[in-house]
Structures are given as structure tokens and as C-alpha cells.
């Protein structure tokens, strides 16, 4: 009982930890800013991000010759305002990224706990499925799913979650295996708690740390995968302004010198993924030094 409490407390953000060495202040600020931008996207965008006119295409950013203050960061191949698209893109990318990571996390953590705690044939079954899953390259699998369910934001989330839940399942199962042998779990068994109660009250709080660390690190992977899917033509459907889609659409302009179409969304992706990873790395050290192969 006590053990689980203590572990639960690590979660309850202790300020001491925040001030301690190496707290990634900048990455946290970046993520917070992006989150704010995403939340207030409809308030701060100058234009409708999905509507443009072909006559206005490829305007450069304001500081470049030919640019105007009307479109601060220029326009894209269909004449849409790039700034507006980047702002709304934050929302799309964050919603897709976070939802996918959370859905995958719930599924993977749940199955990992069940698999690790129950053991026996349930464990065997889940682990064999995980093996099979891992043997399918993630992108391949994603393309398959895209072909079956068709693209929409919702389906991209499902696809990404379906591809990446196994990462959680494996790590969490490993943790559960060692937790099972700990005294507080044994005590709970002796005290006559049901398996469900033990999994929920004793195991779950103790693996949450790992799940959160994993989720932070997976956020980057998910967002980059989303971009790659767009490159292969099965990502978030246009005209939705997802960063990955903007990057994939913009690559045509790279050679002709329309650098802002790729560099800007690319930088947004890099900022967000980098920030999430730096934060994740720090959390990993803080919360769970044992966690290794991610």
C-alpha cells in the first residue's frame, strides 16, 4: 500500500524536482506556447487557413522582396496564408499527436499490465500478438490501415495508436513482472484483494511514471510518422493544415526557392518534437532511472 502511495506522489509534481538540476525550462515553455497557440488558433489567425485564391499563390514572407504585410509569412501553392495555416496546424498536429499518444498509451499500458500480471496463456497471447505487430514495419502497417479505413484526422489517430501501442505494452509488461515480486503486491494478495483491484490500485500507479515518460518520447515519433505518412500520400487529408502535410506539400517548392513552404512547418515540427524529447529525457531521469530501451 505504502509503496504505491509513494510512487503516486512522484507523479504529483513536486516543485523541488522542478528546481533541481537541468529542468528543461525552454522546452517546457515551447510546448506551453504551442499549446496556447493551438487552443486560441481561431482567435489569432488572420485568415481562414483552408481558403485561398490561385492568383495569390507563392507570395514570399514580408521581409523578402515581393512580400507584403498582408501575408506575414507568405502564401502557399494554392494562395493560402502560411501563418494562418501554421497556427491552425499547431492545433491539428497537437490534437493528432496527443490523442494518438494517449490512445496508444491506454491500450498498451492496459494490455501490458494484464499481460504481465496475469501471465499464463493471456500473457502468451498478448506477447505473440505484440511480436507479430513489431515484425510489421510501422510505416507499412500505417499505409495498410490508411488504405483500409481511408484518411481522416480521426483515422490517422487510430492508425498511429494501432501502430505504436506495442511499444508501451512491452515496456510496461517488463515493469509489471518485477513489481509482481514486490512486497506490497504480495501483501495485497495475502490481504485477499481481487486481481482487478491489485492491477488497478497497486500496479497501475506504479507503472504510470514509465507510461508518462514513454508518452512524452512517443509524441515526437508520432508527429514525425504523421509527416512521413503525408509524404507517402496517406496522411491527414487536405485542406486541413497539419504541419506534416504542409511540409510534404511544400517540398515541391523547395527547388524553385519557395523555402518558406517547407522550412517554416519543418521548424515547427522540429521545435515541438525536440521540446517533447528533451522534456521526456529529463522526466525519464527524474521519474524512472531504470527505464532504458525506448
Amino acid at each position: 500500500m505504502n509503496g504505491s502511495r509513494a510512487a503516486g506522489l512522484t507523479l504529483a509534481w513536486r516543485f523541488a524536482a522542478f528546481r533541481s538540476e537541468g529542468f528543461p525550462l525552454l522546452p517546457t515553455l515551447i510546448l506551453l506556447t504551442l499549446a496556447l497557440v493551438a487552443i486560441f488558433a481561431n482567435v489569432i489567425t488572420p485568415y481562414n487557413p483552408e481558403i485561398g485564391s490561385l492568383g495569390d499563390r507563392f507570395h514570399p514572407p514580408v521581409w523578402q522582396a515581393g512580400g507584403s504585410a498582408e501575408h506575414l509569412l507568405g502564401t502557399d501553392h494554392l494562395g493560402r496564408d502560411v501563418l494562418s495555416r501554421l497556427i491552425f496546424g499547431a492545433r491539428v498536429s497537437m490534437v493528432v499527436g496527443f490523442t494518438a499518444v494517449i490512445v496508444a498509451g491506454l491500450l498498451g499500458t492496459g494490455l501490458g499490465i494484464v499481460s504481465g500480471y496475469l501471465g499464463g496463456w493471456v500473457d502468451q497471447l498478448i506477447m505473440r500478438i505484440t511480436d507479430t505487430w513489431l515484425a510489421l514495419p510501422a510505416l507499412t502497417f500505417a499505409i495498410f490501415l490508411a488504405a483500409i479505413v481511408g484518411p481522416s484526422e480521426m483515422n490517422i489517430v487510430i492508425i498511429l495508436a494501432a501502430v505504436y501501442w506495442t511499444r508501451y505494452a512491452r515496456v510496461i509488461r517488463g515493469e509489471v513482472l518485477s513489481l509482481k515480486e514486490r512486497d506490497f503486491v504480495r501483501l495485497a494478495i495475502v490481504a485477499g484483494c481481487s486481481k482487478r483491484t491489485i492491477m488497478r490500485r497497486h500496479i497501475l500507479p506504479n507503472v504510470l511514471n514509465s507510461a508518462i515518460v514513454l508518452a512524452t518520447l512517443m509524441l515526437g515519433v508520432v508527429i514525425v510518422t504523421e509527416a512521413s505518412l503525408s509524404f507517402l500520400g496517406v496522411g491527414v487529408p487536405p485542406p486541413k493544415p497539419a504541419w506534416g502535410l504542409m511540409l510534404a506539400d511544400g517540398k515541391k517548392g523547395l527547388m524553385a526557392g519557395y523555402w518558406w513552404l517547407t522550412v517554416l512547418p519543418g521548424c515547427c515540427i522540429v521545435l515541438m518534437v525536440l521540446a517533447a524529447n528533451l522534456l521526456g529525457d529529463w522526466l525519464r531521469v527524474k521519474l524512472d532511472p531504470q527505464l532504458r530501451q525506448l
Binding site: 490561385l54 494554392l78 500520400g233 527547388m255 524553385a256
Partner: protein, 518 residues
Amino acid sequence: MNHPRTLGPIARRLALWGLVALALLTPTPASAGPEGQLTWGVHLSLVTRWLDPAEMEGILTPFLFYYALHDALVKPMPGHAMGPSLAESWTMGKDALSYDFVLRKGVRFHNGDPVTAEDVKFTFERYKGAGGKLLREKVREVQVVDPGRVRFHLREPWPDFMTFYGTSATGAGWIVPKKYVDKVGEDGFKKAPVGAGPYRFVSFTPGVELVLEAFEGYWRKTPSVKRLVLRAMPEETTRAAALKKGEVDIVYLLSGPVAEEIRRTPGLRLVAPLVAGVFWLDFPDQWDPKSPWHEPRVRLAASLAIDRQAVNAAETLGFSQPTGSIVPRSFEFALPFDPPRYDPKRAKELLAEAGYPDGFDAGDFHPFPPYFSMGEALAGYLQAVGIRTRIKTMERAAFQTAWREKTLHGVLLGITGASGNAATRLEGYVTKTGIYAYGVLPEVEDLFHRQARELDRKKRGALLHQIQKVVHDHVLHAPIYQLAFLCGIGPRVAESGMGLMPGFAYSAPYEDLTLRTP
């Protein structure tokens, strides 16, 4: 790796000595035979089946290989929709039940065997590609009259026989050597194909690269370029980069800003032959009386809402040809229609007249993959007059399956490349047997059946014109433009062979290609 052409040091030295010896022995004349190398950056993965005309599946791409390796009795040539090639001439029997072909004399395959009537018969019977079933149903027998003459007997008069046999509609007329195929077997033939074309096979890495060498005994002329290399480069920007760097001489399929960059790079040229593909909007819900699309004025409004020239400029730098019909002008029996003018005001009026003054929700917009950005632009124009759609991008196979199974709704941006003539182009989209027709006008169906039995060319043409007029007047579709295939050409190329034949997108005939003399 995968490059058998890199010689070892000893072989290289030997080859060098050989060249020196040759140079000493032969007084070098002005035309010293084929020289130099041309390299293509091809947008597609190069596949084994394109080496064998028997596998042709109703797409133009394999002709990329055929025109080099093989030759046909009759094939499209510059200035001739049906150019006599291995056949010097052909005649139709008086009863319209037989066709006689006289073979060109002295023509040989790459391995030295002569091209004979037996090969023609063998090729026809071996053919298993597109239109094969139809050809076999219509042709009763292929008769070898003598080694230089072959006769096709039909079961019933068939006005389209030569359209199927002598154009790119099928690959049945592309002759393969019977003796060689019998000797090496089907697999052996694909490993080392032998044909009667201007270039002989050197090596092939599936998916990656085809290397060919000039066949000096080609009947039409000795090719001018010694070596051809076709290299697969799936990514557009990579192709353009390779062209700029001089690694390749010709790249296929560029678009928008990439093409623009090639056009303004000194030393490079952009060419844009029109191909048979036509883009058009289809309104699958028009056959449902409850749908707004059922009303012809609504469909006309959609058509008038589109600025075809602007889309053309954005996608293909203005090289495509806006059109009012899904049948290209160059097709036999085509009835040309001017593209509908861009008139959003009239479009709004039409919508109001039809009872939708505030526009309406038109459901999903399905662009043909991968033309998503074009779809976005078109959907934007519809939106501007009040026809609100949601873009729904699909993966290629999924889209085509859904289209054919008739499960798409709303608006779809289609492209059609069906070849042949106006009848073969229209069949799939406006008739009961058409696999992409979501509904049929009885009038059109009746006319189509009549034209299929009509032997008189003039009367048939009139019937087909009538069909096209009905299709146009009912606004069954909103045609956008006939596609231009943008390609980049490097500084070393003199004659690229691009656009020499109407409707054919690639370099051909290969024997006409030349390099610039330095």
C-alpha cells in the same frame, strides 16, 4: 552493385586496346555509327512485364520499353496514327471479314532470325494482355499465307479491328520471335528479351534500371545514340535535381513549381506534349432524384464556377488544354467542345434558379490520387459559388475500387486515359456496361448500341457525335482539361523524341533521337 556494366581493370584495359586497334584499322567516316549515351529519369518503377508485349495491360507506360526493344506490324508513328512498320502494307477484304498484311522484307530480330508470318501468328496466339479476349472473340483465325504474308480472318465485320490491332490500344501487334521464345521459354524470354526494335537488351534490374544498346541492323535506320539507360526515380524533386546536375538527360513528369524551376534554368528545356488523359468532375449523385445534383442547372453551375485556365497555370504552367469534352480532339469520331467559360456570377444565378440561393452542402469531394492539390483548388472554386464540399483523399487502389464499386458520393475528380476512339473512351463512363457509369441516359444507351453495329464510318461518326452532344447538353460531367505531360530536357539532347506522336507522352521513336555534337 547491380551494375554489371562496370568492367574489371583487366577487361577495361583490353577494351581500351580494342578501341585503339579499331581506331587504327577503320578510317573514321563522318557518320561513325551510334555514339554516346542518353539517360532518363523515369517517374515509375520499371517492371519486368514491360519487356514482353504479350503482358500489355491497357496502359501506355509499357510502350516506353516496346518502342525500343520491339516492333509492331503497324504502330503509331510521327505523322501516322497507324504507321506501317514490320508490315509494309495491309488491305481489308471486300467482305470486311479479313485483313491481309504484307511483311517488310529482310527484317531481322536482334538474334539474327528473320521476322516471318509464323512469328505474327505465334505472337497473336500468345498475347494475353488488354483486349486479348475481345481480339480472340472477333478473330477466327490467323493464317500464314506465305512467310511474307499473313491473313486475319474475322468472325463478323468489326470496324474497330485496326484500332485495336494497330494502335496503342493493345500490344497484340508487337511481334516476338517464335523460335527464340520456344527455345528459352517464357521465363527465359523475360530475362533476356529479343525483339525487332531499334535497341537491343543489355541488362535490367527490376524496378531500377534498364540498359539498351543500339541495334545497327534496324530496318528503318541505324539509331544515332549508342546506349540508352532508363532509371527509376520516384521522387519529383530528385528527378529535377538529377537533371540540373547533369546526371540524367531527360526526366518525365514534372509539375507546378518544379517545372517552373526547370524552365528558367539556363541550358534546360521544358517540353509538354498533350496526352490522352482528360480530367473531369463527375457527379455520382445526379442519378438520385432527391439530390441537388439531379438538377442540370446545378451541374452547369459547378462547371461554370471553375477557372480552368488558372488551375492549368498552377498545375501544369498553362500547357494543358482546357476542354468541354472528355474525348480528346485528336480521337477518331471526337466532337470537340470549347471549355465552359469561367463565370461565377452566372453559376450563382443558376444555383438560385435551381432553388439554392445560399448554395448547398454537396458532400465529399474525392480527387483522383495523387492529384490532391488540384482537387483542393477545384473544391475552392466550388466553395466560392456556394457548393460546399469536404475533400476526401484516398489511397489510389482504394479510390479506384470504390469508384468502380459505385460507392463514391458527392463530387469526384476523375481522370480517364481510355485509348482508342470516341466510342472506346466513352463506353466506361456513359453506358450500361461502363464500369464507372453511376447511371445511364436511355437515349445514350440506345445510340451506343446502334453505333457499335454500324459499319459505315460516316454514319457511325454521326451517331457518336450525337452521343457526345447529349452528354454535353445534359452536363453529365464537367470536363476540366486535357493533360500536358511536363518533362525536362538536358543540354546534351538535340532531338528528344518528345511529342512527336500525338497523345504519346514519352520519347519515341528511339531511333530518331540525337545528341548534340560537341
